[in-house]
Symmetry: C2
């Protein structure tokens, strides 16, 4: 009898369930639930009340996650006609760090009437960016105290991460901090809701909450220095029992079985993160092959046998992606977003007209025109920092640059320059890993962009000088979660004993790959040298004009100087 | 009896005559003649023949200038009902260097059947840019020989100028060079056609043909070093009799009287150049007040009592603008052109739609949106080098730069950054003059832009920290030429004895001026410091990436590397 696993991928705007054949990874049915409250960034969704949020806030409603289970899993069962007893396991992946304060029994504080009007009681989404002062304090304190763990995160903790958000709650809503029995990732919270068991996964703990397998969390003295009230945060509100990914968290409760239509007791995997779970789903279970999850931004994930400090990466965690390896993560904060910005703000009316007339998408028209240009032909060069630089400069205050424009410059040339700039950004990341002892032989791409833009993929191959393979699945994170579900079930139940075994049969690549074209590579070598010089000049402090302009802007807008 | 003068302004696409009341400068009638052949830059306009031009060529047909007289002067007479005997003088101004080869009797070589198929026999328009190799040779030879006159031109002779064009004729069509009895500016040629007398004006000789009142032309040994055949070019094909502007060239011939409907013998002024003749028409007849002729590009003209070498200017000529002063000229090659490029290539469809709906011009919509932004608010900074840099870097190979873009950047912010960049470019020119002994107290603007864009004018005032006045006339060059026509006629005939006297009564400013706003100035001081640092970094050799990109582009397009 064929067995199945379900992966549930919690994205920014919606949750998605995929029901997968455990024998070959075939995706049998898919269902998507758009969160009823989406991203909450203007005011709390309380009828008749006007509780507005400050700039840079981004919240979610935890019941939207429960509704995702309630809506999508019954739907994939119905669509596939698979019997509940043939579904052997569930895995979930989530955006991170997406975190919330809850009571001891798992009740989110925002579900309690006394806290519902307090924004800090709600889920803070990964892109809640209002905790920068707290992140600054975390970094300054760590540097002052010589905290070695800072090296594991490229020398900087992000405002998006766990303790930045915790500290913001403590700073701005100490009553919420006090009322929270537990502070945890939404990823772990949904697994708790499915199984009735509170667990903490090694992936978010490692990448977002300064935990490591060998050294645990930072010392109490550090937390005390940060804020005396935080001294015992780990023991009081978190857990030191961090479970490796691939483990079984527990079995479905009766209540969760009612929500989903699955059998009570069905195996549920330890929680995981979208980008990280995509790695084995991209066939990567060992060193040398970097996975690029390419969408609005790019996450770069690579495994290493050894521990290396690579400057400017987002972090590395032992067993953080695949047990037995150091999982290294880097990122570019603006890729698909960049092209979307360009199309919205810079494409002349004539192009829109042409696309309309030919009944094609404007991106497609631009790709067509852009593909006719040779590398170097436009004379343009850009720095891909429209949304700051995540790796390897780790600096949100850097901004975009376009150089080389003339009166003959046209839209497709600028568009190509922006694509090339993001490729150079990836090349800097690849080279930095390589130069610091983490070899990268080949690239494996997944996500939305490889489907949509083949020219972009070819440019990445030419610029990085590496072959790029593409995953067969269009929903890699959900497939990866299903794979972890099959591992949580185990071989005896028709699943697998390890993620390696699961990847062998369930993960696939497309036949089509992108190989570097020698002639293009030669030109891009020259252009990349110029990129790198500008990258270092503007990015490493020689000319801080980008920060100065931001400072002037802030002064002008606030009326201070 | 009221007396009148006529100014004829020969532009790039058309010629314009304005009939002016000599007593107060009132413009009584205007007529425009669009040249029948316009700018010839693809193929010679010979019916049934396909003689194509190489890239960067730009020619004109000399009979178009004669047709300008034949069409426009009768029209202004008719429109104004002024009697021919009440028109006391004519002045003309021309683009420069716009030059042609002619026979001893003034017949253009391109009007002779044996030369009509040879592009080098036609008029080379100012923007004929194909003589760069010749300009390079002129500059290298001058540097090698330590020619002091190079300093008068900011260290560089342009490919647009007289001897670059002459040398190109000699290099590529020695038979045309040999057949030409005279090589001269079209400005001087049209005066010759009106008066029957060949004269040479001090303005084009000084600014375009390396002549100075004190030192004359470069030495024969220099021309010989350039090319042995050029040794006697001045004596054989030009003239050493250079006439000061403001002089009377002669009287209208019977033939020219027939063309125009004026009386034979009517005074004709020595030829002049459009930008230069605009200076007295802008009320400027002494030091301290810079005239900006603002259109597709900006010409900056200022008078000085003393001789100063100012780095990176276009040139300075004693008596070149107003007798008795050193006339200094600088320029920005891309201003109005820049905004036109932006509107054509970078304005999103939604904006075009809004402008259409509100039935306003897209430039007007952009100005409206842009005016709502405060200085510094966009966080953007640009280098205004979309068409190279004329002053003070004198480098056509520099290209445009935009810095500070984020995902929130919109079209009006970019538009404002481009306007600001051109203002910073003017500020560099103003500061350079000031620092080198040519004081600039106030700016006087004329041309198309001040009419069209008040926001731009305010930004220029804020950035330069100087009050900007605007000329009352919308056709300043033609008015200036009419003023010189009145001076050629002289006081006895109802005109003036000097251009100072003419300017006193005939030139006017608008009541409205643009005064620097202190608050804006403070922000622009900070932004200008950042501009200047980028200007020097990319413009003075520290990082030659712009040239490198152009080199790579050329290699890619020619297949060489």
């Amino acid at each position: 009898m064929t067995k199945y696993a379900i992966g549930v991928d919690f994205g920014t705007e919606s949750g998605r369930a995929v029901l997968v054949d455990v024998t070959d990874g075939r995706e049998v049915a898919t269902a998507v639930y758009p969160y009823s409250h989406g991203v909450i960034d203007e005011k709390l969704p309380i009828p008749g009340e006007e509780i507005r949020l400050e700039p840079d806030w981004a919240l979610q409603e935890p019941q939207d996650y429960i509704r995702t289970f309630q809506n999508t899993i019954p739907e994939v069962l119905k669509e596939s006609q698979v019997k509940p007893e043939d579904v052997i396991g569930i895995g979930i992946d989530f955006t991170a760090c997406t975190m919330l304060p809850v009571k001891r029994d798992g009740t989110p504080l925002c579900d309690l009437p006394e806290f519902r009007r307090q924004p800090h009681a709600w889920v803070k989404l990964w892109k809640h960016h209002a905790a920068q002062p707290e992140a600054d304090k975390i970094n300054e304190t760590a540097r002052r105290m010589g905290q070695k763990w800072l090296d594991r995160y490229g020398g900087k903790i992000s405002s998006e991460w766990f303790f930045s958000k915790v500290l913001q709650i403590l700073d701005e809503a100490p009553e919420i901090y006090a009322a929270a029995d537990r502070l945890l990732e939404a990823a772990d919270w949904v697994v708790w809701q499915l199984t009735g068991v509170e667990t903490r996964n090694s992936c978010t703990a490692g990448y977002k909450a300064i935990w490591s397998k060998r050294e645990g969390f930072p010392d109490k003295s550090y937390f005390k220095a940060l804020d005396p009230r935080l001294e015992n945060v780990v023991d009081q509100k978190m857990s030191r029992d961090i479970r490796p990914i691939g483990d079984r968290a527990g079995g479905l409760t009766e209540l969760a079985a009612q929500w989903t239509g699955l059998k009570a007791g069905t195996a549920v995997a330890i929680a995981n993160v979208d980008a990280h779970v995509a790695v084995p789903a991209s066939t990567v279970t060992g060193p040398g092959r970097m996975v690029m999850i390419m969408g609005t931004s790019i996450c770069h994930m690579v495994l290493g046998d050894e521990e290396h400090v690579v400057p400017g990466m987002c972090g590395y965690v032992e067993d953080g992606i695949i047990p037995g390896f150091f999982g290294y993560e880097a990122g570019q904060s603006c890729v698909g977003d960049h092209f979307a910005w360009f199309v919205e703000n810079c494409v002349p009316a004539a192009y829109e007209g042409e696309a309309r007339k030919r009944k094609i998408d404007i991106h497609q028209l631009l790709e067509e025109k852009t593909a006719r240009l040779k590398p170097g032909e436009s004379g343009l060069l850009a720095l891909d920092w429209w949304n700051g630089n995540r790796s390897v400069l780790v600096d949100v205050d850097l901004t975009g640059l376009l150089l080389g424009a003339t009166l003959a410059t046209n839209a497709e040339e600028i568009y190509r320059a922006l694509i090339e700039a993001t490729a150079y950004g990836t090349r800097v990341i690849v080279d930095t890993f390589q130069q610091n002892g983490v070899p990268i032989r080949e690239l494996v791409a997944c996500g939305g962009l490889p489907e949509k833009n083949k020219l972009l993929m070819q440019i990445y191959a030419d610029v990085t000088g590496r072959e790029i393979k593409v995953t067969a699945s269009k929903q890699t994170p959900a497939l990866g979660s299903a794979m972890f579900g099959a591992v949580a079930a185990g071989k005896a139940a028709g699943g697998y004993d390890s993620i390696y075994d699961a990847a062998q049969t369930m993960a696939h690549l497309k036949a089509e790959t992108f190989k570097p074209i020698h002639e293009n590579q030669k030109v891009y070598e020259k252009l990349f040298a110029e990129y790198l010089r500008l990258h270092d000049y503007f990015g490493r402090g020689e000319n801080n004009v980008m920060k100065t302009l931001k400072k002037i802007k802030a002064e002008v807008l606030t009326g201070k100087d």
